[in-house]
Every structure is written in structure tokens, then in C-alpha cells.
């Protein structure tokens, strides 16, 4: 089967609109209902809610305390506005962060989560995020593991990557199979 893949010259948030277009088109073609979007400040979530109206959008935020202890970067007002539209916003521990980040920060030791994350970054930071939020969404019950979804990812802010996959729980990570890569940045190494 021949498909299309979009390559962005640079990683980053300037690709957000193009990623959302790409996702909307492929969701229609594959009749995928549920799409996962990472959003730190809410801007990407709002853009996705607009561009992907009619799809079941699942928004995954940074974990609380990611940037600063006790702080949640996703504005409460935006969360309420999205939830009022029936869009779920989930805040849970990062699948590749968690205890691995605790080890890195406290003991300067890189363990499994860092290794997996850095391996996926071979395809770009967005690929790591798309895979990670898929595990997180499965673990918080926002998606089922017997449905096919589209997951998006980005580099710091916005979106630059999208994949099609069947979610797995984090404890089943090594069973995950990325079916399609819809778009990604070109990575010149």
C-alpha cells in the first residue's frame, strides 16, 4: 500500500497547522475516531479542537511539576473550556519520565525510560512524545487498547509528528507497533 508522508524542513511548532490537516485527512480515510494530542499551554489543544472538530480528541498535558514543583502549566480556564466542549484533558505521570527522571536528576544515572526516549528521538522528539502519550492515555483509560488511534507529538511546543497505532499500556510497551508515520521533521543528523 502506497501512502503519503509529509516531511517538515525543521522540527517545531510552526508545523502544527500542517500536522492537524494531515491528521484530519488520514482519520477520515481510515475512519479513526480518536486522536491524541499533547499540549503544554493549551494552545495546541485549542487548535486541535478547532481543526479536528467531530473527532474524539484526547488532550494529554505535561505532568504537574514538570517545569516547577507543584505547578501545572496547562491553564485551568482552558481545561474547563475544553471539557465544556466534551474534550477530555488528562494530566498523568510521563511514561518515560517518572522514576527514570528521578534517577537521572538525583543520581545522574540514565535508566530505562531515558534510554527508550532517547532511542525514539532518532526519529525526532515528536515521535518520542507521540509514543509516550499513547501509553499514558492507555494507562489512564482515555483510550482502549483494541482501537486504532492517531497520536501526535511535538518538539517543546506545538506539533511536528503524527503516527497511527494501536495503544498499549506502559507495561506492554515493547508490544507497541507503530503502523503508519503520517508526518515528521526531516532530520539531517
Amino acid at each position: 500500500m502506497t501512502g503519503a508522508i509529509s516531511y517538515f524542513p525543521q522540527a517545531g511548532q510552526q508545523n502544527t497547522g500542517a500536522v492537524l490537516q494531515c491528521v484530519a485527512a488520514r482519520a477520515r480515510e481510515l475512519r479513526i475516531r480518536r486522536v491524541l494530542v499533547p499540549s503544554t499551554t493549551g494552545a495546541t489543544a485549542l487548535a486541535a479542537a478547532d481543526a479536528l472538530a467531530g473527532l474524539d480528541l484526547v488532550v494529554m498535558t505535561h505532568e504537574a511539576g514538570f517545569a516547577r514543583d507543584g505547578e501545572q502549566e496547562f491553564p485551568a480556564g482552558t481545561r474547563l473550556a475544553l471539557e465544556a466542549k466534551g474534550i477530555a484533558v488528562h494530566t498523568v505521570t510521563h511514561a518515560f519520565g517518572g522514576l527514570s527522571r528521578a534517577m537521572r536528576d538525583k543520581f545522574s544515572t540514565h535508566v530505562i525510560g531515558d534510554i527508550v526516549a532517547n532511542t525514539l528521538r532518532i526519529f525526532g522528539q515528536g515521535m518520542k512524545v507521540a509514543v509516550e502519550i499513547t501509553l499514558m492515555a492507555a494507562d489512564c483509560g482515555a483510550v482502549r487498547t483494541d482501537e486504532t488511534v492517531i497520536a501526535m507529538g511535538g518538539s517543546d511546543h506545538g506539533l511536528d509528528t503524527a503516527i497511527v497505532c494501536r495503544p498499549v499500556n506502559a507495561q506492554r510497551f515493547f508490544d507497541l507497533k507503530v503502523q503508519e508515520v503520517l508526518c515528521k521533521p526531516q532530520m539531517h543528523g
Binding site: I5, S6, Y7, F123, G189
Partner: protein
């Protein structure tokens, strides 16, 4: 501004994809002006096909390491290796980057170590994707590729090839700097297929 390109998804992984993968690589190499390809080959059959389809390109063939299937066994026939080398095609037999001591730990102590974790993380995009990443690093460390040159790398599942990407190879010690530029083809995987055998139940 994005560039839209073709990506080919195969219904199933495996050697049956080989001819199509080589044709895809030929086409994309010509489009991008890429002159070098890394080809994994266990028995030499994929290497010979690549030599035919990718005429004019510099090829680096990477075999399974000696002892991979059985102690002292090298599956790549010696006569075929000599034939390729005589044509100026290097045939590399070297330790597997993700295997080696990591597999020794896994096999002796049942402990997944660095290389096993990295290999399994890459397998989320298919077994071929793991091979696609592994072979160019071995070839770089053997001095067979030029640093900074974009190449095509192929990978497969047991036999043949079913995955191809473009990348600029790095040495093993620079693994975390490696970046895949384009994905030319890969298996799509059947999401309803049963999980692989041998998985521990929770």
C-alpha cells in the same frame, strides 16, 4: 511548508518485500542523489539482488555475526563473499551493535540490558527498523562509510528486507545523535495479530 513524499506500507513483514524495497530505494536514491546504501544480508541472496538493482551505487553488505545462529557458523557463503569483494563490494561481519554483551547478559541472567532495550524500543516500528539503525553504525565503526554523507539503509525481519530509511550514519559511541531523515517503506502490522510468543503475563 512541508514536502510530501511516498511511503510504502507492506501488509506483512518479511523477505517477500525485498524486491519492492530495492526498487523503492533505487528510485529514492536517484531522486535525492544518494550514492551509498547499506544492505543487511544473512545468506547473500539479498546482497546479490541489491547488487543488481542498485547498480552504480556504493554498497556495504552487513552479514549476521559469526556464531549468531550456532557457534562458529557464518551463514554468508564464503564463495559469495569473495565474489562480492572481487567486485569491490565490502562485506562486513562484525559484532551486532545492540547484541554483544547485552545479549550475553540477557541469555545468562535473563536481564534486559542497554542494547536489548534500545533494540526493543526500535522494534516498535518493526524488526526491520532495528536493523536499519544497527547496520550503518557497524559499518561506520568499520570505516566503510563517510561521516556526514546521507545514505540509504535497509533492514529486514529474519531474511530479506522490508524497511528502508535515509540517514546520516554515526559511530556507535554517537548513537544518541543519530537521526532518521526519511522513512521510505516499512511493514504496517496487523493490529489484531496476537502478541508475540514468549511474553510474560502480568
Amino acid at each position: 511548508m512541508s514536502v510530501e513524499a511516498r511511503i510504502v506500507y507492506f501488509d506483512k513483514p518479511g523477505w517477500r518485500c525485498t524486491d519492492e524495497v530495492l526498487a523503492i530505494c533505487r528510485r529514492r536514491a536517484d531522486e535525492l542523489g544518494i550514492g551509498t546504501a547499506v544492505v543487511p544480508s544473512v545468506t547473500g541472496s539479498t546482497a546479490l539482488k541489491a547488487l543488481d538493482v542498485l547498480q552504480g551505487m556504493k554498497l556495504v553488505i552487513v552479514t549476521a555475526h559469526t556464531g549468531y545462529a550456532r557457534a562458529n557458523l557464518q551463514s554468508f557463503p564464503e564463495a559469495r563473499r569473495r565474489e562480492l569483494v572481487a567486485k569491490g563490494v565490502p562485506v562486513l561481519t562484525a559484532p551486532h551493535v545492540f547484541g554483544g554483551l547485552s545479549y550475553a547478559m540477557r541469555d545468562m541472567y535473563g536481564t534486559a540490558m542497554l542494547g536489548v532495550d534500545m533494540g526493543n524500543a526500535l522494534r516498535t516500528l518493526g524488526q526491520g527498523m532495528k536493523v536499519v539503525i544497527e547496520c550503518p553504525m557497524a559499518a561506520m565503526d568499520a570505516g566503510l562509510l563517510t561521516w556526514g554523507e546521507e545514505i540509504i539503509s535497509m533492514g529486514g525481519t529474519n531474511r530479506g528486507v522490508d524497511t528502508a530509511v535515509t540517514l546520516r550514519p554515526v559511530h556507535v559511541r554517537d548513537f544518541f545523535s543519530l537521526r532518521v531523515n526519511e522513512i521510505l517503506c516499512k511493514p504496517r502490522f496487523d493490529p489484531d495479530a496476537p502478541p508475540p510468543a514468549g511474553r510474560k503475563s502480568s
